[in-house]
């Protein structure tokens, strides 16, 4: 009995140590990436690689981002319209729907979709390169794999996630408009009027600022998991799942902290703003 308890404590300890070691390695990996970023961002070759990756990132994720965005806007509107109508505030729908999309749902959902679409394929690609010794082959030829593989992928995700987020925002806004104005017969004029007064430039900025952070973190997590994946097809599959879960959690946690920070900045500058 007591030995079972002791075993439990020991194995919990082991897991904790493993997790901490993993965390440490991840930060080291991030540090190396940022160092190479400073070194390599001046070279034309890096930007060639970034461009090649960007095609991939942008083109492959755009359709799914557009669909996600529009349905999020529509769902939000469907859920809210009855309540707003009951209190006679349906004309103010635009403000609420668009603010939610621009500040929270657009960046977070775009981030999550990119983590699934792009992050997954990054992990699978780098994981396969790792288990087939292609990463070692790079090292054996005197090319740093972080510089050659991670930096361009990081830059592509970091720079394109905000762009894709803006697409998501626009589609969300159109989705909300479709349900509120076209399907539920609220007047278009006041819908946009309230939107304009509720959504400030700072709200758009804060959504975009978040999405830079999400793009950065999801690419780092996905590349890290690929670089440290275990041998075999199973190892690669496992790394992909781990990478997605870790990116998802990281996005939500970062979203919370960045929101708190931006909120306090906004309150300090403009004071409290009422939506209704």
């Amino acid at each position: 009995m007591s030995s079972r308890v002791a075993n439990f404590i020991a194995s919990t300890g082991d897991h904790t140590l493993d997790a901490l070691a993993d965390f440490g390695r991840f930060f080291k990996f991030t540090g190396q990436t940022l160092r190479w970023l400073l070194h390599a961002s001046g070279s034309a070759r890096t930007w060639q690689l970034v461009l090649a990756e960007s095609m991939d990132v942008g083109v492959r994720s755009l359709p799914v981002i557009l669909i996600t965005g529009s349905f999020v806007g529509m769902v939000l509107a469907v859920q809210a319209i009855e309540q707003f109508r009951a209190v006679g505030l349906e004309e103010q729908m635009g403000g609420v729907v668009n603010l939610s999309v621009v500040r929270e749902l657009g960046p977070v959902l775009a981030g999550v979709m990119i983590a699934g679409r792009i992050g997954g394929s990054l992990t699978a690609e780098l994981g396969t390169m790792n288990v087939t010794e292609q990463i070692d082959a790079l090292r054996s030829m005197g090319t740093d794999p972080i510089r050659f593989l991670v930096v361009p992928r990081f830059l592509a995700c970091f720079l394109l996630t905000p762009v894709l987020t803006l697409y998501c925002d626009v589609m969300g806004s159109l989705g909300g408009w479709l349900v509120t104005v076209v399907m539920s017969g609220v007047d278009s004029g006041p819908y946009w009027e309230y939107t304009r007064s509720a959504v400030s430039a700072f709200d758009v900025f804060s959504g975009v600022a978040k999405s830079f952070a999400f793009g950065g973190v999801l690419s780092l997590v996905s590349c890290y998991k690929g670089f440290h994946c275990r041998a075999g097809a199973e190892g690669v599959g496992r790394a992909c799942t781990d990478a997605f879960v870790a990116s998802f959690v990281a996005i939500l946690v970062m979203d919370f902290f960045i929101s708190v920070l931006l909120q306090s900045i906004s309150t300090r500058i403009w004071g409290f703003r009422s939506l209704l």
Binding site: M129, T132, E133, R139, S140, M141, D144
Partner: protein, 277 residues
């Protein structure tokens, strides 16, 4: 000759033996290298000194750590204990960024080829040139064509690694390994998976590189024909230690049972026990 020896004396095995028979300074030297993966002990005190311009063949059972040994020479794996020297300078404690420069003087042929899937055959062979030289596209294409011709694969440039056979991949990987005309080439099973004629072409290529460019080589192989043909010296690895070291004639004539069994490819009764009913 003093190098005609098998180390069967246990005291001999624990002593860090430096296998340079004459005064020629070693180009590459491993001193008492240990490596383990988790609880699996792979290298248990390997010492090996390689002379400039010579070809050393490493033989040994599957899974004894030949590939691991080869990776220690360019520090793709770092020793847990022990040292690695290159031209008399210790390199196993250098950071990765310093090793990168150093590794450009090496060519490494991976056991599984390790070609880049996302690049064509031509881009694979040209990769080290694109990365480390300022040569123009045309110059690189000329060199790539020449290296591919050396391994008997001219015209294969536009194919992807997924579209070619295992033996072809191996030869493309070899062309890539020698693209920068390295001083040292490390071959991990260069002839495995090739037909006998192709194997002989590769053997001749290894000899040609040694003869014409003075390349220092380490060849890991199971193919004794190849070992006898290209090796100036053969070392045998067993359970993480070097158990025999000498010129090819020694391996042809020795009557040490462990060596004979491996070299002649005869399974021992213990090896066959699992097949008995």
């Amino acid at each position: 000759m003093s190098i005609l020896k098998t180390m069967t004396d246990p005291r001999e095995q624990t002593r860090p033996a430096i296998h340079t028979p004459n005064s020629e300074p070693a180009m590459i030297e491993l001193r008492n290298v240990y490596k383990r993966f988790g609880s699996l002990r792979v290298l248990a005190g390997v010492s090996l000194a390689l002379e400039k311009g010579k070809t050393t063949v490493v033989i040994g059972e599957s899974g004894t750590g030949k590939s691991v040994l080869l990776k220690h020479i360019i520090l793709l794996l770092r020793p847990d204990r022990g040292e690695v020297f290159f031209n008399g300078k210790r390199i196993d404690d250098l950071p990765e960024s310093d090793l990168a420069v150093h590794r450009q003087r090496f060519g490494f042929l991976f056991q599984m080829s390790a070609l880049f899937d996302s690049l064509t055959v031509g881009e694979n062979v040209g990769f080290p040139l694109t990365e480390h030289t300022n040569k123009s596209k045309e110059e690189i294409e000329t060199i790539v064509a020449e290296k591919l011709r050396m391994v008997g694969l001219e015209g294969l440039q536009p194919k992807r690694p997924a579209q070619i056979s295992g033996g072809q991949k191996k030869r493309v990987a070899l062309a890539r390994a020698i693209a920068l005309e390295p001083d040292v080439v490390l071959y991990d099973e260069p002839t495995t998976g090739l037909d006998p004629v192709r194997s002989d072409v590769i053997n001749e290529l290894i000899l040609k590189l040694q003869r014409e460019l003075g390349v220092t080589s380490v060849v890991v192989t199971h193919d004794m024909t190849s070992a006898y043909k290209v090796g100036d010296r053969i070392v045998m690895l067993e359970r993480g230690k070097i158990i025999a070291d000498g010129p090819p004639e020694f391996f042809k004539t020795t009557d040490d049972p462990r060596i004979r069994r491996f070299v002649d490819g005869r399974a021992s009764p213990e090896d066959l026990a699992a097949l008995e009913d």
